[in-house]
Amino acid sequence: RPAVVYDIAGKNDQSFNEAVFVGITKYMNDTGIAVTELEPTNAAQVEQSLKKLASRGYEPIVAVGFAMANAVQAAAEAYPDTKFTLIDMVVGLPNVQNVLYKEHEGSFLVGVLAAMNSETGTVGFVGGMDIPLISRFECGYKQGVNWQDSSMNVLANMTGSTPAAFGNPSKGGELTRTQIQNGADVVYAAAGGTGSGVYQAAADAGVLAIGVDSNQNWMQPGTMLTSMLKRVGEAAYDSYDAANNGTWEAGFRILGLAEGGVGWALDEHNRDMITAEMEARVNEARDAIIAGDIVVHDYMADNSCPI
């Protein structure tokens, strides 16, 4: 009886949570097993949701997002026989699987694309909540931009300092408009539900935007350059699947480009915008990263960005 608890932006944020949701929907369709989904509305309810599921015998329980770490810790301690899968954060308990992503690697690739598409020499980044995790996106992106063209200028803003920053399209739009007025002509949003405001503002001004987590190319076709994919849906899917097959393991899964955990989206919505030259250049970067020729600095390794 698998279950999932989304974070407070909700499963339809069209971004991070939705990527999980899509994976789970796929799992339900493939297997016919129903997954119970809960969407707490504030931080104080997260732990309650997890414990409630655990107490009723649900497992594995996927907890979506870094913000759930403490709640997972408490719930996993209270229900040591229940399997928990935590995305984006680490809880060191024998019944918790931690799934982590190398977002900086994926962001690097979209940074390359952004640099190749900018005419003004300035690109933008709109982050969600001001935390190291999001700075990791920002830093990877900057490295990609810089790798492509070291004369480029990157404008970066964070939406806020609380989890609500992942669900504030109004402010996302405002920040984007400011960046555009300051010259940015490609804007990358790593901001969950806030992104929709970013893409809207970009579309309104006729500049390019880059989505995140889910494939968001469809959202503003024509101005969505690409999306940085973070395949959290697969993580949820795999976790349920593994539990079914008895292969679920506690511990870490760290997924980067090499593991296919992150990547970039190329589909019918942006096919026409990506030239062969761009595609080749991005693939070159990808191969170099996988091969270890390019080491993308991880912001969270030392809480600083070399660029």
Binding site: A9, N12, N17, E39, D130, G167, S170, L175, T178
Partner: protein, 321 residues
């Protein structure tokens, strides 16, 4: 022209629009003697309904109409409770805010199954920016050209409506018969009653106007400034409008200035992660965020001028026991 300033002022205008609608709504209701802390709730329900209707029916105008209707219904609930049944105006306002907050989520989830959001609106489902005539001509004039192009032109129609509505409100309140009666009923309802006018009718009219204005404000947030409804989207704008109403001492133009001031602070807050004030050091954004509320408290405390509300505000008009 300073880019930063121009951009900030541009955003100020965008942020001030819902504040203007809501505070003018509050002005009508409070000048008639009915406290309106439900501005937030009315705008929220209007934002939701406008986005929902615009998305379903494919037109921002239908969205606007539906928003006005929804917000007016809430205004009439407030009227029914406080005018007809002499209920406590604060409690009624609290109820309206809470109901709006819950209903938008519950209905949104049930209707659209997108976690409480409405579908993103396509361009023909929302109010788009319009370029005012003559931008290219004036563009050549140095400072003025910039101001005209960046600041004055390029907003959506509701922004211009908000700016037009303020003089209109002033005119209605100060120059028309309805305005005279409105001012009278907020000061001394008994005098109005003995002059042969119905206090209840006047107050209902005022609340209805308030409902309509809040409806426009809400529609602006979801279908003009943004392109979909997201949960708790008004994010306190109704309360800031209330603060602006008090800060502007219930007078249209001063209220407008307060709206501009508070929106400017908000625009600044967006653009600055933190502010360095010489001599004081770094001021966190949270402080800027709290400034409108702090300013209002300071004003209310009489440290900067005095905010004297309409005399009868807050009191239900009870003729006989």
């Amino acid at each position: 022209m300073n880019e930063f300033l121009l951009n900030t002022l541009d955003a100020t205008l965008r942020y001030s629009t819902p504040l203007i609608f809501a505070s003018m709504a509050g002005l009508f209701s409070e000048r008639s003697g009915v406290v309106d802390i439900g501005l937030e709730g009315k705008m929220l329900i209007a934002a939701f309904i406008s986005a929902a209707a615009a998305s379903v029916f494919g037109s921002p105008w239908i969205g606007l109409g539906a928003a006005i209707l929804a917000s007016s219904i809430f205004a009439m609930i407030h009227g029914f409770a406080t005018i007809t049944h002499k209920g406590n105006q604060i409690v009624s306002g609290v109820a309206i805010n809470i109901m709006a907050s819950g209903l938008t989520m519950v209905l949104g989830l049930a209707w659209f199954k997108q976690g409480g959001q409405t579908p993103a609106l396509a361009n023909d489902e929302r109010f788009l920016s319009i370029t005012l005539p003559g931008v290219d001509i004036i563009d050549y004039i140095p400072i003025l050209g910039d101001i005209y192009r960046e600041l004055i032109s390029g907003h959506n129609i509701l922004v211009y409506l908000a700016l037009l509505i303020v003089p209109l409100v002033w005119w209605v309140v100060n120059r028309t018969r309805f305005g005279l009666r409105l001012r009278a009923v907020g000061e001394n309802p008994k005098a109005v009653d003995t002059a042969g006018l119905s206090v209840e009718r006047l107050r209902y009219k005022a609340l209805l106007i308030g409902g309509i204005l809040c409806g426009i404000g809400g529609a602006y947030i979801a279908t003009a400034h943004n392109a979909q409804f997201t949960k708790e989207m008004t994010a306190g704008a109704g309360f800031i409008a209330l603060a602006a109403l008090i800060f502007g001492k219930w007078r249209p133009y001063t209220v407008l200035s307060a709206c501009f001031l508070f929106s400017f602070l908000k625009a600044l807050e967006d653009r600055l992660q933190s502010v360095i004030i010489p001599g004081i050091g770094e001021v966190p954004v949270q402080f800027i965020e709290a400034t409108p509320y702090l300013l209002t408290v300071i004003l209310l405390a009489g440290f900067i001028g005095r905010a004297i509300p309409p005399k009868a505000v807050g009191e239900p008009y009870i003729k006989e026991l």
